[in-house]
Point group: C2
Chain length 313, copies 2
């Protein structure tokens, strides 16, 4: 009668679908809201209760909150710094107003747990290469300003009785990533080029670096956050290691027997040179640690592409 | 034909009307948007081109930007931390989405100058009593989160060619302040009580303090910002001195021949104990300095109340 549900927004997307699938494997009942703008209907687990639309649409939220929701994992949203320049207002609604609305509905419905997919890009331009949760945010895109504001709204709501965790996701990659979207995701963009053209064009220096975190490790961070007993926390979800663009390219090229044609040219506007994330806080609070190194993760992703015939050789 | 206008949002309000009046005195053509939600139609200067509605209403913005707008002074918005808890979504739209929209219209219309009424409350809880523009913001209300996000959006737009200044206003008081709104403005709340009841009830300690800045000094900061040659700046608009609640009460009581009945009781939730603002940056950049001390400012306000028969003795 009064069955408990977990609301995972964006379960047709890369990260949202992986989190929803895992929860369903664990025997949980899961509801999602997804507008299918970048997510794909085929990603939706058949066990999901699915509402199609925007998370900032109160008509949809009114429907969803008729269910007994005990936790919200807010993963939906416009997810690219570059794309946020196309329509900053949509970015604000989709990433910030949606958060504020979900928190309001949580409060009115007695849901006490809110977990948010934030981003390493709230750090923006930093003086140091390694950042921890005490580093002062310096957002430089519409996307990152809106994500940071969402975190701050969560802090306000945590004082009104809702336990909130913001997971600052670093560079997520792995099976399930959208290989048709060539505007976001360094690994997916490079892999798509490799499979399609047997060549990779890199905009910017090979010495730039990222902190590459595998999708399964990200899922585990969300799952562990549900059970965490904290009123408000921000966690880096990262490996704590640098992977340079050159490393990424070499690893991909090796999988293609070093037969790819590699070109470096120009740069991406607003691109950061690199930061990586200290992950000691989430390690100690949630007993979480990244399990998959970059080479293994990339190999899994390659096999997933072949097995699912997304591209062939 | 192609007459230049300055857009002052919120010109029916306390600060907006003072700024608009000054610009009109200086011979400028001024347009305003005001939804009259807290402002008063009687405050609207007759020389203004007036659009009634919300600043986040694109139908209104489409009309306004048919004029040749050379500078935007964005002063409209929900202006109370306490009231932001009543409707956080309205606060976000009115203070943050409005800013983002105005910046977008500015960019599309070639307006290169944007000045924003920000607030000292972006500092929130601080370790020190005095704050400068390098102090790390720690907003603790919906209102202050939204104002800080607006500042960050301005920073993004400053890199797209619009010169932006955020004025962090401290505790503004003076003639024109709304004495019927008993939820915001320490001086106006105390004066209203003194005139109405010959008594003042103070919620919280007499040792709390504020940085009281007179309306004419605030107006001058806006006027000087229009001519400033900077791409992005944040300025404290403050006196750099503390005025305690006890000082405010004593000064008011003196004007009533020490005949007021004064009671201290309880506290206001979320109230800060006190910060005051270092104003050296605006002093050196804009050759601005506060001209009116608290006693003179309060006396002017008292006389304005009597002269305008808002209350009588």
């Amino acid at each position: 009668m009064n069955k408990e549900y977990i609301l995972v927004t964006g379960a047709a997307g890369f990260i949202g679908s992986a989190v929803a699938n895992k929860l369903i494997d664990l025997g949980k009942s899961v509801i999602t809201i997804d507008n299918l703008s970048t997510g794909d209907k085929s990603n939706l687990n058949k066990e999901l209760v699915f509402f199609e639309g925007d998370v900032f649409d109160t008509n949809i939220l009114d429907q969803v909150f008729k269910y007994n929701i005990k936790a919200i994992l807010h993963i939906a949203g416009q997810s690219s710094g570059e794309i946020s320049y196309d329509n900053p207002i949509y970015d604000l609604r989709s990433n910030t107003e949606s958060t504020l609305l979900l928190l309001k509905y949580a409060k009115n419905s007695n849901c006490k747990k809110f977990i948010f997919a934030s981003t390493m890009s709230v750090y923006g331009e930093q003086e140091t290469e390694i950042v921890d949760e005490k580093s002062i945010p310096n957002p430089i895109s519409f996307y990152s300003v809106g994500k940071l504001a969402s975190e701050s709204y969560m802090k306000v709501y945590s004082k009104l009785g809702i336990d909130c965790i913001a997971l600052r996701l670093f560079n997520v990659y792995g099976p399930g990533q959208n290989l048709k979207n060539l505007r976001q995701g360094m690994v997916s963009i490079f892999l798509a080029q490799a499979f399609q053209n047997s060549s990779i064009l890199i905009k910017g220096s090979r010495d730039r670096f990222r902190d590459m975190i595998y999708i399964d490790d990200v899922v585990e961070a969300f799952i562990k956050s549900i059970k965490a007993n904290v009123d408000f926390r921000i966690y880096n979800v990262s490996t704590g290691t640098k992977t340079t663009v050159g490393d990424v390219i070499n690893s991909i090229n090796a999988m293609f027997n070093d037969n790819l044609k590699i070109r470096y040219e120009g740069e991406t506007p607003g691109d950061i040179f690199g930061i990586y994330g200290d992950n000691n806080l989430i390690k100690s609070d949630l007993v979480w640690s990244p399990k998959i190194n970059f080479k293994d993760g990339l190999s899994n992703m390659y096999n997933w592409i072949i097995d699912n015939k997304i591209y062939d050789l």
